[in-house]
């Protein structure tokens, strides 16, 4: 899993590339938490266009980050999910806490 990020116009853009499963979850959590520590943004957009695979472990990772950012009142949005990731998001109700943006 490769995580890239940049801040533009008070928005933190995060690009996840690779496979998000139990094996990559631990490092992904740590990397995202480090990036989210920075306070120079008001919202987060997670771009999944380069995510090749995700299972329900990925949902756990995303919900964990949502809980941390909720305390800081920073919303997280999802963009460019694959049809497959979208199926898991709809099944788990993730979009209710992390809306999809186009």
């Amino acid at each position: 899993m490769l995580v890239k990020n940049r801040i533009y116009n008070n928005t933190l853009y995060v690009l996840l590339s690779g496979e998000l499963d139990e094996h990559s979850a631990y490092n992904t959590r740590i990397t995202l938490d480090e990036i989210f520590e920075n306070n120079n943004f008001k919202q987060i957009i997670i771009d999944l266009s380069e995510l090749d695979f995700m299972d329900s472990t990925g949902i756990g990772v995303l919900i964990g980050r949502y809980k941390k950012m909720k305390d800081k009142k920073i919303p997280i949005f999802i963009c460019n999910p694959s049809a497959h990731a979208e199926k898991i998001f709809k099944m788990t109700g993730l979009y209710e806490i992390m809306p999809k943006i186009v």
Partner: protein, 150 residues
């Protein structure tokens, strides 16, 4: 009775680095009956969920093995994912959406729900000795194109 056209078994340690291997291996085996990309992705996800359960839950003390047996039919695949670990006491509870025995570990509790949604059949079987077998079946929508002239 329908005829099995191919069969394979793999066994590996229940450690997370093997999840990618397991799902890629099962997907590659299924590819010979020309399933759609969507069907392959569904199978990879379901396999990943079942193997994750073995890695996370089956062996709390000493790491054991995961065995995957795949039976391939012309229009479907049956996958058995087994461990010799602690097993599950309450199958019904385990299959409930959002149920997890590890609520402090950021776990979604959606593993069995995902397997059920992405596959067509899901059964949990208590092994004779110990541990659990997850049996899943997926039907392929597109009939295999038979080679002409063979």
């Amino acid at each position: 009775m329908r005829e099995m056209i191919n069969e394979m078994t793999i066994s590996f340690k229940a450690i997370s680095v093997n999840e990618g291997f397991a799902r890629a291996c099962v997907a590659a085996f299924c590819a010979q009956v020309n399933p759609s990309l969507d069907e392959i992705t569904d199978i990879k996800t379901a396999v990943s969920e079942a193997v994750t359960n073995c890695v996370v839950h089956a062996y709390p003390k000493k790491v054991g093995d995961v065995t995957i047996k795949v039976e391939l039919f012309e229009n479907s695949v049956v996958i058995y994912i087994s461990d010799m670990g602690v097993g599950i006491e309450d199958f019904e509870k385990a299959r409930e959406p959002f149920f997890t025995t590890k609520p402090n570990e950021e776990r979604s509790g959606m593993g069995f729900t995902v397997m059920e949604s992405f596959m067509d059949k899901l059964d949990l079987i208590k092994n004779q000795g110990k541990g659990l077998t997850v049996k899943m079946e997926k039907f392929f929508s597109i009939k295999k194109n038979l080679a002409v002239g063979e």
